[in-house]
Amino acid sequence: MDGSRAIPNYVTLGQSNASDPVTAVAEATAGIDLNECRFVLVFVPCGLSLDTLGPALEAAMNGVPVFGCTTAGQITGDGYETDALLLVAFPKAHFRCASVLFHPLKPISIPDIAAVAERHAAQFRHTASWNRLALILADGVTKQEDLLVSTLEMVLGDLPVFGGSAADGLAFRETHVLHGGQFHRNAALLLLLETDLNYEGLEFDHFLPTDTQLVITDADPEERLVFEINGAPAAQEYARLVGCSVDDLCPRIFAENPLLVQHGKRHYVRAISDASDNQALSFLAAIDDGLIMTLGRGKAVVETLETGLDVCDKSGDAPDFILGFDCVLRRLEIEEKQLSRPVSDVLQNRRVFGFNTYGEQHCGVHMNQTFVGVAFFGPEGRSLA
């Protein structure tokens, strides 16, 4: 926990900040022993040519499967980065996997998805005393994550699904997932994993509800667009509620002032990605007409992160590493508050590797402005001090 440059035991990292895809691949794969490698996750920064990168990766991997997506930032061994090609190699000794690409994602065919997922899960051979989980990397702008993950949750039963939505910086235009050496738009990648390591799912945000409530009076739930709030144009009313002018609305404001929906005793964040010219607000998660929402207020982000990551296994040991799906809006807020370095330090100390998403999936629920992660521990009875 206290190592400033703690190296995980059960995965190997490769990284390159080169702008040329071929060079970046060469640099990032240099330290990875592909012979011992089961599969590789790759998190792609904005700006690399995907047409070149895909084949380069495929060639460099020498037959080892590589999966990944485009991102809005990477969590590397040094914390937050924006232009790093990050490779996380999972060794054969501890991991097995099976992959499914759902394409196209929109229009979504829930029965198809359910059938394919079910079949693959059934075919994925079970190894005694190994643990199973599923990772989902979905297109971040097709707005199908809610239906996708709830379907998967239903089909896969006791297999927990964790994941993040692919991103393209802060553009919110085109996101890709990598599968079979190619980057795909309008697609989602499901990875079924089996490991002898123990894991634990993490999910937390850093918001509390305020007293301010609002009612969505006109919306397009399919497109996650809200046209009217409290009977008034949405952007205008949102600006009034958060205390700024319509012209000031920007990702930073959205990041700091999310809207929450309450269910039972819990609040779920519904993040706003954009305000359109016609006063409509574009959301990153499912909304509905007539929905009562609550304005959220931020908590200390560093402390909640630290608390959220502070998990341990039965032996009291800290995770060997944490695969992290961290919402880009959190990152925006963190950068706005100039907390990048302390947060990076925390991420680094906790050995968190992953990327900044357009949305996070945790056990069938698609959310925004949260941190979803999977903490991997050493195998039971093999405490690695």
């Binding site: 809610d146 239906l147 993950v149 949750e153 009076t217 739930p221 409290n230 998660a285 509905d288 056990c363």
Partner: protein, 769 residues
Amino acid sequence: MSLIDPNEPPARQIERQARIIDALVRRASRQNEVGISAYSAFQSAIELQEQVAAKTRDLEKAATELESVRFDRERTRRNLDVALSAMDGGFALFTDGLLNVSNKLFQTLFPDISDRIQPRLSLSNYFALLEASASLESTDRDLQQAVRHMVGGSGGASVLSVVLELRADRWFQLNMQRISPFSVVLLLTEITAIVRQSRREREDLIDEQADYLQAAFENMTSGICTFSADGAVMMYNGPFRELLGLPFTVIQKGVRFETLLHYLRSHGLIAHDLPKPLTVLRERLRSDNAVRTRVRQGGGRVLDLQANLLPDGGFLIELKDVTLESRATEMLENRVMERTAELTRANARLTEQYEEQARVEEELRLAKERAEAAVSSKTRFLAAASHDLLQPVNAAKLMLDTLNERAASSAFAPTVKRLHRAFASTEQLLHSLLDISRLDGADPDMVTPTDVSLGVLIKGVFEDQMALADNKGVRLDAVPCSAFVRSDPVYLWRSVQNLVVNAIQYTRPGGRVLLGCRRQGNKVLLQVWDNGVGIFPQDQERIFEEFARADNVAPGSGVGLGLSVVERACRHLGHKLWLRSEPGVGSLFCIEMQQVDGTEVIDESKGLTQPDDDAPMSAIAVVIENDEDVLFATTQRLQQWGTAVLGASSTEAALAHVRDMGIAPDIILADYQLDGDDTGVRAIEAIRDLTGTRVPAIVITANRSETLRRAGEDVGFTVMTKPVQVSRLRPLIEWKIRWQSPQAQVDAPTKVGNDSGGAGSSLANGRIR
């Protein structure tokens, strides 16, 4: 904050309220619709999630409980598995008395009944088969009875264990356990290894100990035999039997101690005494724990016997052959005794020898005393003879002087001169004889080392021998010298004189003799050179012997005692004497002496005026001389010098003359040795007493002893040795009268003078270069 912006106009506010209500109603009514929308999916997902979460919590709780139950069960099963596998033996479960389950070993252990062991075999039948099996050798208890006990008695023992011995030394343990009222478990465990090992260990242990003990016993050089408490042989070794000469038939395990003893006695294997009867031995062992004694066997063998009590009340007898040791001891003792005897004898011999030696020593001492006495008497005789001979020679010389003067111009002159020379030779010979006899004597007074002035000595000798040299036609020279040496003045004088005389004698007329000294460090070499005939090397040692004469010397030239005297004197004085000579060239005689710091002695004749031979010496002299001839000669000589002489032969006569005369004489001339015990010294003292005057006195004597010289110092007289040299006598008399007469007597101390001392030097004048 209210839902509706209060700043809006009321109409707008109302409109918005309406829209809100509308939206809420729409949504509420949509809740019942069936269909899938994204939000409903989300909603159902989170509902599901919550339900799942709740169920998961319940499940986890249940799972935890289940897990612990399962774990316990697993553990139990594992333990059971382990236990069963650890049994490594046959297993069978009989339910309701019939065989239910069994394993392979159980079925095949007894090959001849294996085909009969089938399910539903009754327990009793199984045991019946077992008992009948050819493979079964024995059991440790009755099987049938055990089975009846087990099967019948429900309240009886639930566990039964039987040991089965199979063929080929295989061993099994049959465990029968009632695990429920209906079922019985049979276990067959192989215990062959355990049985064999324990048996082997037991055997090995016993064998090993016995072997070890026996080996230890056998390897001991001493004979050992242990007896039980009641005196029976338990264990013995070879040496024990051999030492005692017991046949195998007699010494056996269990044989009684008394039997052994009896055998030994009756066969004469033990000379007499021991071992004591058993009871006595025991008694002593009990009190002392150990008994040690020595046993003598026939044939001179000696055994050392030691008996020790053993913990079980028995005892151990240890025998050692100590024949050699005891023999060695005896031999040593004998040898010591012999040595002691030898030593005693040697001691006696030594004592005898010592006594003999003492006796011899005593005899030697007596002989020595006798010899010394003889030598002494010889020396005394010789001294006396010389002395007595000197008296007449003295008288003759004095008379010859007188005659010489009177017959100077007569025709007898040459005869008188030759006569004079003959007497001079005789006198010298006598002097030498006297010297030799004295030097050979053991008189410690003989030599008296004092500081001697060589200058005075050389001058004296030179002057004395001037005339001799002139006569011979040899030139005599002397080199003056101021050195002092430690020596006896009389003998040194004599030695030098002899060397000079000798040199003159052996130098042809026209030759030269040189007398002088040379310093060499702190030594002084007194040398006499001549260019005479020289001495052949073969004669150079011999010439110092008495009466020796070199071959190149014409006979009759000298008696040959001179060098002998020199040699003796130098030996006594510790001076080194050597010579260098070459025939035809000359000789050098050298006396090497230690130089000392000396001061010039005040010469008592200093200031002595040149005597006038012709001027009459008018004085009254008392001459005391018991030899009539000498008295006559002396009287005549003195009267010739114009002196009035009162001659006396004894002290009394002299005293009579002095009384008659009424005045003290001017000088006393006294012979030392007078008749009887009368001496010149006594006469001098008597006259001085009588006259009350310290009359100057001269004692003339042949006695050259130091004693007299000292007496002269004490009493106050000058000693002149015989024969008197007239040339020296007159100046001495004149000097004494002038300086020592009572009138002239200042307190000048009486000085010792003699015939060489002052008188010679007083004559020092122009004749020395």
